[in-house]
């Protein structure tokens, strides 16, 4: 999408991001307040119809839709996501407590994915149709075909239950980070691998690379210096996209499998307890992460693009 000059692009992209965030909160609001009935959920089990009606009035649910949304959105902007039904604390506080664990997991997973995927991708792309290339490629397709939570379970069975090398689950020190981050690293690294591989191959067939080879310079020199520079853009943006994918839901199934105390696990616990304020807060916060990262990657890509192709 051509947005024009960089400053104009930046503004428009940020605006788009805000629009999406707004839409997400609108959808969440519609689903939670209009379709679902918060009064009935919050009322004790044996409440009578009158009690439920009274709670509805207390929460202001009998006001017109527009008015409700405005006040809802207003509180969101001020950081008030309501009270958790289950813990009787501000929902945002509950979500913020769970956030660091998720950030730790996804960042470490992303580093593993980025390093592993890029490294293998470049090696494979530089030696197309070799055994390494074919094997790694097949492995990447397999990694992207299996459910990520299943892969996590498999790793638990092999490394934690049978070999007893690491704990099976929970956040109990750095060893417990190995399997969950490793699972994320494998799956998201697979996609990074594929894109870096094809980008590297493209570079290898370009005139300058062929020329450099024919000049007899050591291959590794060409590989690491020029190709790296040219594929760096692909690597960076793909890593960005994978982070978007992680925070968009992929990391959360892993959190549940490994009982990792992050936003994903919080979301599922809130869902099973019908704690809508916390669920809303978690979805909006995670969504914000996704939208911000998305916009950041777009901007970064565009910035690099103008650097490489000025004007």
């Amino acid at each position: 999408m051509n947005y024009g000059s960089l400053p104009a692009f930046t503004l428009r992209r940020l605006r788009d991001g805000l629009v999406v965030l707004f839409l997400v909160t609108l959808i969440i609001f519609v689903l939670g307040h209009v379709v679902g009935d918060p009064a009935e959920v919050m009322a004790p089990v044996d409440a009578s119809e009158q009690e439920i009606a009274r709670i509805r009035q207390q929460l202001g649910l009998d006001r017109p839709f527009g008015e409700q949304f405005v006040s809802y959105f207003g509180s969101l902007v001020q950081g008030d996501f309501g009270q958790s039904l289950w813990q009787d604390r501000p929902a945002l506080t509950v979500v913020n407590e769970a956030l660091p664990a998720t950030v730790l997991l996804t960042v470490v997973g992303l580093i593993l994915a980025g390093l592993g995927g890029s490294f293998l991708g470049m090696l494979a792309g530089a030696r197309p149709e070799s055994r390494l290339d074919q094997g790694a490629n097949l492995l990447s397709i397999v990694a992207l075909s299996v459910p990520n939570f299943w892969l996590g379970l498999l790793l638990i069975v092999i490394f934690a239950v049978e070999l007893r090398l690491v704990p099976t689950s929970g956040f109990t020190g750095w060893q417990s980070l190995i399997l969950p981050a490793g699972t994320l690293g494998m799956i998201h690294g697979a996609r990074i691998f594929q894109l870096v591989r094809s980008a590297t191959f493209e570079e290898i067939t370009k005139p300058y690379a062929l020329v450099a080879r024919s000049k007899g310079l050591p291959e590794r020199f060409i590989l690491w210096k020029h190709i790296l520079r040219n594929t760096a853009v692909i690597m960076a943006t793909t890593v960005g996209w994978e982070y978007v994918r992680m925070m968009g839901g992929a990391a959360f199934a892993i959190e549940v499998v490994f009982a990792w105390p992050g936003i994903g696990q919080l979301m599922i616990q809130a869902a099973s307890r019908q704690d809508f304020p916390v669920l809303q807060a978690a979805v909006i916060v995670a969504g914000a992460f996704v939208i911000v990262t998305n916009a950041a990657v777009d901007l970064f890509y565009r910035y690099l693009d103008t650097r490489i192709h000025p004007g």
């Binding site: 999408m1 788009d16 991001g17 629009v19 999406v20 839409l23 997400v24 959808i27 969440i28 689903l31 939670g32 379709v35 679902g36 197309p128 149709e129 490629n137 397709i141 397999v142 992207l144 075909s145 299996v146 459910p147 990520n148 939570f149 299943w150 379970l153 498999l154 638990i156 069975v157 239950v161 996609r191 594929q194 894109l195 094809s198 191959f201 996209w241 978007v244 994918r245 925070m247 968009g248 839901g249 992929a250 959360f252 199934a253 549940v256 499998v257 979301m267 599922i268 869902a271 099973s272 019908q274 809508f276 669920l279 809303q280 979805v283 995670a286 969504g287 996704v290 939208i291 998305n294």
Partner: protein, 299 residues
């Protein structure tokens, strides 16, 4: 924007007069590896259509004294290839029975998304202008949205029912179809109205209809095959998390969830259904890649 149909497998291309179509299809058909995958998919499809009829045992037949048997065990009822569950039911039969709903949800959701995406893409490509911009906007917004999270919220509010799963899953796939069809439709339109526009890659009308339209259909098919796999994984994720399909209905994702508490003592309960799911999606991925190269990647 990230494209779901990522880099294709083979880097080296092939060129010949008719696009090498005949030679490629022949090669494709006789490749042994592929036959195995196609055979596997046909088997899964057969299981889906016949339900538990082809299963070795009745998946609901309990035999509590033969509970939690590991794979390759025998009980008084017979041989259990993949072991038994906590109530003594045969795992292989449960998995075969689970194929039906898993495939049903995946195929129906993908078709729904495909229908919406193709329709919107065609409108955008053909009418252009305001319609095009609107559809593009919609596609962008949809892609930028954390759809899986919204799906979690949606299912919690509306209730974890199969019908709700089928309603929300198409939202994950329609943008890919819309983009594809839009691009192709635009090119088609250009060719029709600008007959001499050789730059767009068109020659005579007859070749136009022979190339573009079949290409479009086959590209949609390739994308559909991949997306069925993605939707299957998404449904498995939702069911595993407990907000998708609910018992007593079964899908493979739900079977994995049911087996999870026993992971340390009976790993096959969770691992086997996931294996079947993974193999199915893998087969779909490999098939779509071969289809892509067989029908000609570039045009």
């Amino acid at each position: 924007m990230a494209n779901s149909a990522a880099a294709t497998g083979t880097i080296t291309g092939e060129h010949s007069a008719d696009g090498g179509t005949t030679a490629r299809w022949r090669q494709w058909l006789t490749s042994w590896g592929l036959l195995i995958w196609v055979g596997y998919l046909l088997a899964i499809g057969l299981f889906a259509m016949t339900g538990s009829d082809l299963a070795p045992y009745d998946p609901t037949a309990q035999q509590v004294l033969a509970r939690l048997l590991p794979p390759f065990s025998a009980s008084s009822r017979g041989f259990h290839w993949l072991g038994t569950d906590p109530l003594g039911r045969d795992m292989l039969s449960s998995m075969i029975a689970g194929a039906r709903l898993t495939l049903f949800i995946a195929v129906v959701s993908t078709f729904a998304g495909m229908a919406v995406g193709v329709a919107l893409g065609m409108m955008a490509g053909y009418y252009g202008g305001l319609v095009d911009r609107l559809v593009m906007r919609l596609t962008e917004l949809q892609t930028a949205m954390p759809m899986f999270l919204v799906a979690i919220f949606f299912l919690t509010v509306m209730g974890p029912k199969v019908i709700n799963v089928i309603i929300i899953l198409p939202a994950l796939v329609w943008p890919a179809f819309a983009s594809l069809v839009r691009a192709e439709t635009m090119r088609l339109r250009n060719c029709l109205f600008v007959e001499a526009a050789v730059a767009s890659g068109c020659t005579e009308r007859s070749i136009l209809w022979a190339h573009i339209l079949p290409n479009l259909a086959s590209r949609i098919a390739v994308l559909a095959v991949i997306e069925v796999g993605h939707v299957m994984l998404a449904e498995a994720g939702l069911s595993f998390l407990g907000i998708g399909v609910q018992p007593p209905q079964t899908t493979w994702g739900l079977l994995i969830a049911k087996g999870r508490p026993y992971l340390a003592v009976a790993w096959w309960l969770a691992i086997m259904p996931g294996l079947m799911l993974g193999l199915t999606v893998l087969a779909l991925n490999l098939l779509s890649r071969r289809l892509a190269t067989a029908s000609g990647a570039a045009a």
